[in-house]
Every structure is written in C-alpha cells, then in structure tokens.
C-alpha cells in the first residue's frame, strides 16, 4: 500500500485557517466530502466519531504531527486527508507541542488490516525528518501530492 493509494488528492488542505483541533478536523472531513469520498449526510457523524476517538487519548504523536482517525461504515475503503497548519494547532499532543501536519484517516470497520497498513505507511514516512520538513514547506496541493509520490517511490 502506498500513500497515493489512500490519500484523496482533492482532500489536501495546504493551509488550514488558524483554529482549534475541532475546526481542523471539521475542515478536513469537509474536504473529503467535497472531493466526493464521503456523503454529505455522513459528514457530521464522521466528525463526531473522530472527536470521540480523540477523547480516548490525543492522536498527536509528537514531532508536530497528528493522525486523527475513525472506523466508519460510510466508506468501503481506506481514505485520508492531509492538512498543514502553518500557525500550529493545539492537539493536546503527548509532547505538549502544537501540530503542523495532520493526516486524517477514515477506514471501513470490517477491514482492520487496511487501517493498520495505512497507519504503518504514514508512520514509516513520518519517521523521515526530510519528509516532515519538505511537507511543512509545501505551499500547494500539487506540491504535497508530488512529495507523496516521491515518498512512495523512496526518493526522499
């Protein structure tokens, strides 16, 4: 599985407006809806599910990165949105630092293996300091997509 297999090209937000964890999650789920990956009637329910998951423990994993996620019956395949927050978002991360890179995952409940492989893929690339640095420097959706393609091809 590669990043470009599950990141939705239309759900890349290169510059999130300054705001809260909730507003960031809402904007990213909205981008998935606008891209046609989830239905409008499921949008609020997915936001609520992701926020509920965050209550169990923040998905801010340090290094300025968060991976909010949920398993939801409205999708039949793993999908992801990416957002950059230049100002940083308070995600109540483990290290107490703001978050600048957000990967938001929605996966079907009956395919836990896909969810694990999505997390594996994202984590593997996030361990690469160059990947994080280049991602944060990206200005447009096209820049980000190109970076994901290079990461998939182990060119970073």
């Amino acid at each position: 599985m590669k990043l470009c297999d599950f990141v939705v090209p239309g759900a890349i937000v290169p510059e999130l407006p300054a705001g809260t964890k909730e507003s960031a999650i809402r904007a990213m789920v909205a981008s998935l809806q606008k891209a046609g990956s989830i239905k409008a009637e499921d949008e609020e329910n997915i936001v609520a599910a992701i926020l509920k998951r965050e209550e169990l423990g923040s998905t801010g994993i340090g290094r300025g990165v968060a991976v909010p996620h949920t398993k939801h019956g409205s999708t039949d395949k793993l999908i992801a949105a990416i957002a950059l927050a230049k100002e940083g978002v308070d995600f109540a991360s483990l290290d107490g630092e703001p978050v600048y890179i957000i990967f938001l995952l929605v996966s079907p409940p009956d395919r836990p293996g896909d969810h694990l492989r999505g997390l594996e893929n994202i984590s593997r690339h996030l361990r690469n300091d160059h990947f994080c640095k280049f991602l944060r420097q990206s200005k447009t959706s096209e820049d980000i997509w190109e970076l994901l393609t290079e990461a998939d091809n182990n060119e970073i």
Binding site: L116, R117, S123, R127
Partner: protein, 144 residues
C-alpha cells in the same frame, strides 16, 4: 534516558555500561570491554546481569490488531521503565518506547511478535507488556 538497542550492533553482543548509562550510550558487549574504568567486582556482576536479553513471543489477540491505541499503551508502559524494549515482526524491529516505530509493525490479529527486553527492570517490563497483549489491550496492566 537509556535509549535501547542501536541498529547495527549484533543483538547477542549488546550491553550497556553502568559507567555510561546516564549518557545513553550502548556499547558492544565484547568481554574485553566490560570493565570500562571500574574494577569493583560488584560493578562487573551488575554489568553481566544486564547483558541478559529476555525474550518472549507475544500474540496479537484483539480483532483490530496493533492499531494506534494499543501502540500507545505499549509505549507508555515501556517508557516507564529503564530497560530497553524491542518488539519485532520478522525483520522489522521497533523500539517499543516509540509510538511511531510501533505503528510500523502493522500487526494484525493472530500475528506473533518477539519481545526483547534488557536492563535492570527487564522482568517487570516484560511482564507488563505481555499482560497488555494477553488482555487484548482492554484493561490496564496488573500492578507489579
């Protein structure tokens, strides 16, 4: 903090020194390097006891596999101990104190992982992490 095994060292030859432990340095455990400045016999016994790597096979029994939350619980448990904790799936080795590394294991239900622990509180952390796996990450580990 003691940071665990460093990639590239032969596993069997790992030890860390009581002299350098505060500097997070891992040294190869060749017998001729063991003394490291201190000739007190007690130091050497201590070093020898920490050279032991405790291994146990653990199985992922929960139906969702080793997803974010289980990895978080393992990392939190491992971080509370001084010993190094490594979880391996085949050739993929993860420092169990790192959530990011644990997530790269992508271990589904039924996967066997090798748990390797070395350090002064090795048995405690071995039992604690094993308990997390055996209860399917549903309840906090038993107090040791």
């Amino acid at each position: 903090m003691y940071s665990g095994f460093k990639a590239g060292f032969p596993r069997e030859a790992l030890i860390y020194s009581t002299v350098f432990r505060h500097f997070s340095i891992v040294l190869p455990a060749y017998p001729q390097t063991v003394s490291l400045g201190s000739k007190h016999p007690r130091d050497e016994r201590f070093i020898m006891s920490e050279a032991v790597i405790h291994r146990r096979t653990v199985t992922v029994i929960n139906d969702q596999g080793l997803h974010f939350r289980p990895c978080q619980l393992i990392a939190l448990a491992a971080q509370q101990h001084q010993s190094s904790v490594i979880l391996s799936r085949g050739k993929t080795r993860a420092d169990a104190k790192s959530l990011l590394e644990l997530l790269t294991l992508a271990a589904e239900q039924g996967t066997n992982l090798e748990l390797e622990v070395a350090g002064p509180d090795a048995i405690d952390v071995l039992n604690e992490v094993t308990e997390l796996f055996s209860c399917g990450f549903q309840s906090p580990p038993r107090a040791v």
